[in-house]
Amino acid sequence: MSIVNTWYFPTRLAWRQLIHDRLKLVAAISGVLFACVLVFMQLGFKDALYASAASMPLKFDGDLFLIHQQSEAMWRPAQFERSELMRALGHPAVAEVAPLYLSLATFKALDTQVKRTLMVYGYDPDTDLLNVDAIKTKKHELRVKDTVLFDEYSRPEFGPVSNMLEAGQNRTEVNDYKVTILGVFQLGISFAADGNIVTSDLNFLRIFPNRSAEEIDVGVIRLQPGAFIPEIKEELRAHLNDFVKIYTYEEVLEHERLYWENAAPIGFIFNFGTIMGLIVGMVIVYQILFTEINNYRFEFATLKAMGYPHSYFIRMVFASAFILAILGFVPGLALSSSLYNLAESQIFIPMPMTLEKAVTVFVFILFMCTTAGSLAIHRLDSASPADMF
């Protein structure tokens, strides 16, 4: 009852004052909407970046992963000896181990012959290191010399590979080495690589003649069913050299995400963009609230003379800020959703509008508006009832 009383009347008055001047209201809402869309886009791109960056180890089928400590991210790994991985086999809980070879290589587009860089995965097809059905069903064919599988989610600049394969055109060059494309699979691209191909470990070494089977990029460890992963991880840790790091599946995803968030300046750029958007929006809302208070200060002084306490006007300013936040957020959410769809269709990176993201942005916008409100409040002091006569 008292909450209703203390907030209802100032909110109603704030609402009546806001809708009285429609033109100014539209300007104010546009300001909030602008900030809203800006923040949504920054967060959308950032999340898409992290999601796609982390998508590289996403399909890895293993319990523990060995990576050289100098490997900043998976798209440019440092190699270590295969014997280091084999050492893990000594632990009774380890069922099997498998080396993974990774490298960026140029791929000659089937139609335009233009060379673009993509990621090459090499592993023994029998180990099923990538949990992708289209690869598993082709594991016997992959054993044939100079064969690869192509990720059909790669960027379109690599050419319409699926269509060309149907037309019988399946020869191209990877790292200037002639290969046959057996078929396609679906994995998804990351900011590091515009496309992916998968090949056998032996074919990998043919494509990259200066690489050796003894130098691996990622060591994948599978444990016996029922093994307690964190405990095994600690025990293996004690047996391995310090230059390899051992991660669980979740940790390897986190490691990738943190790279893009911190080591690469990209995470910073998007955070910076988010903050700039909020600051610009805050300045706009501040300007609007400030002019509003300034224009209405004689009315506020009149109300003060009638016996309204100072706190009433503070609540009014915050109510105005809150109303602007909501009125700007709703169209901002709608507009951002359609921009997300547009982005998905243009840059082939998933940008879902999640409830979590919507709530986050609403909290940001609310924070932005209330901060602007608390900055504008000092202008209320100019409303002195003694000057009314």
């Binding site: 009383n5 009347f9 008055l13 009546r16 004052q17 809708i19 009285h20 001047d21 004689f298 009315e299 009149t302 109300l303 003060k304 003379a305 009638m306 016996g307 309204y308 306490p309 009832p385 003694a386 009314m388 006569f389």
Partner: protein
């Protein structure tokens, strides 16, 4: 006594720039009395009015309004007095984004024991009493000067204040609407037994007063009894 001012001194500024405005004012007004205050510009009329209304802080002498000492009082005491006082300003000072009815309701929204429908009803009654029953949903900019001032009279009286303080309410009105406005004010105030202190230069409305107080250079110069 509803208003009891004794030996009130007030100055603007400080140090060598001190400008005394009120010099030992004594003024007592009984319940239901209508007092007009006149005097030349700069004689301190408005300053006295703002001190009595709890809008300006005085620190010297005694100002007892409705039993509360306002000299060196805190904000709560002043707000309490303000809520029992109706103000009528030289400019109507209506809220331009509210209709006439909503403006009058602003006074009643301070009284939390009223329901919304009671507020609406009383505001409508009050607007009808000042002859604006067909203008209730007009915004101030759609009303004439005289109509605006009558809305502001309705607003001042709607809360059934014990005191009405008015500063040159007829200054921006023509003779006829000015006289109509104060006539309505007087009539309603007498019905509700409200005390009125009205500052004016307008000698055309002196006839509504029970008593006329003349201020000059910060002193009460003369008190004219009207019979």
């Amino acid at each position: 006594m509803v208003i009891d001012v004794h030996n009130l001194n007030f100055s603007f500024g400080s140090g060598s720039l001190t400008q005394p405005v009120l010099k030992g004012i004594d003024l007592a007004i009984r319940k239901g009395e209508i007092v007009l205050m006149t005097g030349p510009s700069g004689s301190g009329k408005t300053t006295l009015l703002t001190i009595i209304g709890g809008l300006r802080q005085a620190s010297n002498g005694s100002v007892v309004i409705l039993g509360e000492q306002l000299v060196n009082s805190n904000e709560q005491t002043k707000v309490k007095i303000r809520r029992q006082t109706g103000y009528i300003f030289q400019q109507h000072n209506l809220l331009k984004s509210l209709t006439a009815l909503q403006n009058v309701c602003m006074t009643l929204e301070l009284q939390r024991d009223l329901t919304e429908s009671e507020r609406q009803y009383r505001a409508q009654q009050m607007l009808a009493a000042v002859g604006l029953e067909d203008r209730m949903h007009y915004f101030p900019e759609a009303l004439s000067g005289g109509q605006r001032q009558r809305v502001s009279i309705a607003r001042a009286l709607a809360g059934r204040p014990k005191i009405i303080l008015a500063d040159e309410p007829t200054a921006s009105l023509d003779r006829q609407s000015g006289h109509d406005a104060v006539e309505i004010l007087k009539q309603l105030a007498k019905e509700l037994n409200t005390t009125i202190l009205l500052v004016t230069h307008d000698y055309r409305i002196l006839d509504i007063a029970d008593r006329v107080v003349e201020l000059e250079d910060g002193f009460v110069k003369a008190v004219e009894k009207q019979e």
